[in-house]
């Protein structure tokens, strides 16, 4: 269930002005933006759950739903990692530090962080799918003692597509077992080659009934990751996927993002696998 901030409840179209305060080129066509609200009071009041998203608005071009990819505990700006795909992200990519744009949010249901307390967690990310999972990693690290074993399996087409590589060592130090894989090895790559499911299948879960799997990536990858999780004995109710659909209002009012009975914008983007499974495998739903 979504709980929305009062302003958004009253007017989901309410848009804040944000300024780009930092800009990091991650990989080819992917950049991370630090956005700060011009109105400082709103900035302090702004909180999000890992897995939630904002609508970023470029006047005259349109909006795009972008997941938060920063640390939910930090208040120095909202971090979004964006891949150039459509007109909005293409225009965003031409903006520079100091430019302003619109932002409304946070929207949607995030990762079920409360459920994870006392449990083991398998995180499976494919490509840009790491972006909405990074706030979850930060949250787990911030409260590391509350959680059991944590595995992070990260896949990409090539090693250049692996997001946030400089942070893996830190995460490992905080007792997260990070494994990487690529579809295709390029020069200098000595790690695994293959799909993420092969790495999931190899996991030795000490207590599958107390293990939760969180995945974000291409839809086909998430389907197979979930199936691997089931094979390891993880309950379908403990598997969560982050879906992507056309989102326009982000508030369940415009109808665009439906998948079966779910509004991906407000019932998701993070949805429980057992709820979405009947619809994930139907063509053109």
């Amino acid at each position: 269930m979504t709980t929305s901030p009062p302003t958004l409840h009253e007017n989901p179209w309410f848009t804040h002005t944000v300024r780009i305060t930092n800009l990091i080129d991650e990989t080819e066509g992917v950049a991370t933006y630090q956005l700060v609200m011009i109105d400082g009071n709103s900035s302090l009041a702004y909180e999000f759950v890992p897995g939630q998203f904002n609508m970023l608005y470029l006047p005259g071009v349109g909006e795009s739903a972008i997941s938060m990819s920063g640390d939910p505990a930090r208040k120095d700006g909202w971090i979004h990692t964006v891949r150039v795909a459509g007109n909005v992200t293409k225009t965003l990519a031409r903006l520079q530090r100091g430019d302003t744009l619109g932002m409304r949010g946070p929207f949607g249901a995030g990762w079920p962080v409360e459920d994870l307390v006392g449990n083991d967690v398998v995180i499976v990310a494919g490509g840009l799918g790491m972006a909405p999972l990074r706030p979850l990693v930060y949250h787990l690290i911030n409260h590391r003692e509350q959680f059991g074993k944590i595995w992070l399996i990260l896949g990409a087409r090539t090693s250049e597509g692996l997001l946030y590589p400089t942070e893996y060592a830190t995460w490992q130090k905080r007792d997260i077992e990070v494994t990487l894989t690529v579809d295709r090895a390029t020069a200098g790559w000595n790690g695994h080659v293959g799909v993420v499911t092969q790495l999931i299948d190899r996991l030795q879960l000490p207590r599958p009934e107390q293990t939760h799997l969180m995945t974000c990536g291409p839809e086909v990858m998430m389907k197979y990751a979930a199936m691997s999780g089931l094979r390891l004995g993880i309950d379908a109710r403990q598997i969560w996927v982050s879906m992507e659909r056309n989102m326009q209002c982000a508030a369940g009012l415009c109808g665009h993002c439906q998948l079966g009975p779910e509004f991906i914008c407000k019932d998701g983007p993070v949805v429980r696998y057992d709820r979405i499974r009947p619809y994930l495998f139907v063509e053109q739903l």
């Binding site: 989901p12 848009t15 006047p59 349109g62 302003t100 659909r245 369940g252 009012l253 739903l285």
Partner: protein
């Protein structure tokens, strides 16, 4: 709330006083009127604009405006328009963006002050409003324009006294009797209207109208033909037992005339568990994907937002317009379309309307008004499609 138990009766011509009273209270009165060879909803200032003596004949893909044998004022059912155009307008500005020196600033739309009084809302349409209330007001987010207009809305319902061949409100348990959700509800009989009160606001307006009627009656010369039981026709009084009986009879006619049926015992469930049924492909071959059904539907709420900008980009407006799951672009995602053929779009519409809607809003999305059947240019009948899906399904 204290409301009179007994309906009031007043002569037909007095409806003008009710309209005047509402206009005096700064309502824009909208109601049925004849235009473009159909009965549509538009501004009403005078009773002369109502479709007196007109009716509609409807069947799949066919609507004809016809003269009646009598002079009934509300002797028709529902037409191509629905009331949603007043609460959820086809085009609205949601937000403006202005470029100032420090960058973009965003200006939310200002509160809407329009007060609408809807005259002639049928039971299925009251149900449709309750459904749109669920969509726009009762979720985690509210639509501000809908909220503002809904709050100020005055509803004069009219009980149906006949049905079209496309009506199936009895299947959807939404009519034909107006039971709730109105301020005033009228039933038309030969000699006048019976008026029931459904809210405090309705009572207040009715009381004001009664004293207006009394003043009008005092100020006019009473001719002998226009009195009933020694009460001036210019007054409203408690309905007599005979009048109550006539009203019951009139309303029963609507019930008796309904022939169309949709089985709902296995809804929700039936459609979402038959996503690969061959019927989807068959209906996809007939369906034009033209969006007519969704546009005339009183509950369909899909919309899209476009950017309206001047070339210099100093000012941009975000404009929301009615959209439809039948538009290919509607499911656009990352350079391609999720629902890329008509069969998948029809399936989306029907499963959402009759099945997924229950999970989302605790109600069916269909009120049985039959508009999608009449206004489909090729006459696709939603009740037949549901029956066909059921037929090819093992129980």
């Amino acid at each position: 709330m204290s409301v009179p138990l007994s309906p009031r009766f007043f002569a037909k011509s007095q409806l003008q006083l009710l309209i005047d009273e509402l206009r005096h209270r700064s309502y824009s009165v909208v109601g049925p009127t004849v235009d473009q060879e159909a009965i549509v909803y538009g501004d009403i200032q005078s009773i002369e604009q109502l479709p007196r003596g007109w009716t509609d004949e409807q069947s799949p893909g066919l609507y004809r405006l016809k003269r009646r044998d009598d002079d009934a004022w509300f002797g028709f059912v529902v037409g191509p328009h629905s009331w949603k155009k007043y609460l959820f307008p086809p085009k609205t500005t949601l937000l403006s963006a202005e470029k100032i020196e420090s960058g973009w600033q965003f200006i939310p739309r200002s509160a809407d002050k329009t007060k609408f009084a809807l005259l002639g809302v049928r039971a299925c349409e009251l149900a449709a409003m309750r459904i749109q209330d669920q969509v726009f007001l009762n979720g985690p987010y509210q639509d501000p324009l809908y909220r503002e207009r809904r709050k100020q809305l005055f509803v004069i319902a009219v009980n149906c006294t006949q049905a079209a061949s496309t009506c199936f409100c009895t299947s959807m348990k939404t009519g034909p009797r107006c039971e709730k959700g109105y301020d005033l509800a009228l039933t038309e009989i030969d000699s006048g209207f019976l008026c029931e009160v459904g809210s405090e606001r309705g009572k207040e307006v009715l009381d004001a109208f009664v004293s207006l009627a009394r003043r009008a009656s005092e100020g006019s010369s009473v001719d002998s033909n226009s009195t009933v039981d020694n009460v001036s026709t210019y007054e409203a009084y408690d309905a007599t037992p005979e009048q109550l009986k006539s009203a019951d009879y009139a309303r029963q006619q609507a019930v008796d005339q309904i022939t169309k049926h949709m089985e709902t015992s296995d809804l929700p469930g039936l459609l979402l568990s038959n996503l690969d049924h061959p019927r989807w492909k068959e209906v996809g071959e007939r369906c034009l994907s033209c969006t007519n059904c969704t546009m005339v539907c009183p509950t369909c709420f899909c919309s899209s937002v476009t950017e309206v900008r001047d070339l210099n980009m100093d000012r941009v407006e975000r404009e929301r317009t009615w959209d439809s799951c039948f538009n290919p672009d509607f499911s656009y995602l990352g350079g391609s379309l999720v629902r890329n053929d008509t069969a998948s779009r029809y399936r989306q519409w029907l499963t959402h309307k009759l099945d997924g809607w229950h999970a989302q809003f605790g109600t069916s999305g269909c009120v049985g008004c039959g508009r999608c059947i009449t206004w489909c240019p090729v006459g696709i009948d939603i009740t037949e499609e549901v029956a066909a899906i059921r037929e090819g399904t093992s129980p």
